[in-house]
Symmetry: C2
Subunit: 126 residues, 2 copies
C-alpha cells in the first residue's frame, strides 16, 4: 500500500519563534500516525513551501496527500492561494491523490479548546 502523507500547511512569519507550535503540532500528529509521513509546509516567509515539500513526498513514494490548513480562519490564503497551489500540484503530480481539509480553527473541538483557554486567561488575571 502506498504511504499516506499529511501536510500541515501554515502561513510562515519572519520571526523564527513563530514556527514552534506548528512543529509541535507536526510532531504530535506524527506520533499518532507512525505509518504516515507528516510534514510541515509554509505559504511564505519560511521553508519548505508547499510545492517543494509535496514534490519531495511524491519523490519518496507518497501517493495520497492530505493538506490541512493550519489557519484560524478562512481568509484569502485558504480561499484563494491554497486552491491555486493545489491546482498546480495536481497538474504536476497527476498520479497523486490530493485532498484538502478545512481550516483547523473552524473545527468545533479546536474552538472549544480555545474557549477554555480564553476563559482561563481571564480568570488568571482576576
Amino acid at each position: 500500500m502506498p504511504q499516506r502523507g499529511l501536510i500541515l500547511f501554515a502561513h510562515g512569519a519572519r520571526a523564527a519563534s513563530w514556527a514552534a507550535p506548528f512543529e509541535r503540532l507536526r510532531d504530535m500528529t506524527q506520533a499518532r500516525m507512525p505509518d504516515a509521513r507528516v510534514a510541515l509546509a509554509f505559504l511564505e516567509l519560511m521553508t519548505p513551501q508547499l510545492p517543494e515539500l509535496a514534490a519531495q513526498l511524491v519523490a519518496d513514494g507518497v501517493a495520497q496527500i492530505t493538506v490541512v490548513p493550519v489557519f484560524l480562519g478562512q481568509g484569502g490564503h485558504v480561499l484563494r492561494d491554497l486552491p491555486l497551489l493545489l491546482e498546480q500540484l495536481r497538474q504536476e503530480h497527476p498520479g497523486v491523490a490530493f485532498q484538502v481539509a478545512g481550516a483547523v480553527g473552524e473545527d468545533p473541538t479546536v474552538l472549544a479548546a480555545m474557549t477554555d483557554y480564553c476563559v482561563n486567561a481571564a480568570g488568571d488575571a482576576a
Copy 2:
C-alpha cells in the same frame, strides 16, 4: 466591583468569511463569562481595532482588561505589534489594568485539539 473585560485580539483579513470562527469564539467565551465584557478586536483589515475597542470598554467602565492574542504562533504581530499597542493603551488609560495572555495556539490543550483534527483529517481521506 468594576467590570472585567476580555479582548480577543485577532489578525483580520480582507475576506469577511475570515472573522466567523473568531466571532464564534467570542460568543462561546461570553456565554461562559456572563459577568464579563467579551469583545473581538483586530490588528488590521477589520474593525474594531484594539485601541478603539479598548477605549470603548474603558468609557463603559471596564477597569481590568485581559487581551488574548488569537494567533497560532508568536510572530511579529504578537512579539512586536501587540506590546507597542499595549504600551499606548497603558499610557492612554492609566487607571486601567491591562494584562496580556500567551498566543492561543501555544496552549497545550489547543494543540492537542488541533492534533486530533489533523489525525482525523488524514483518516477521512483514507
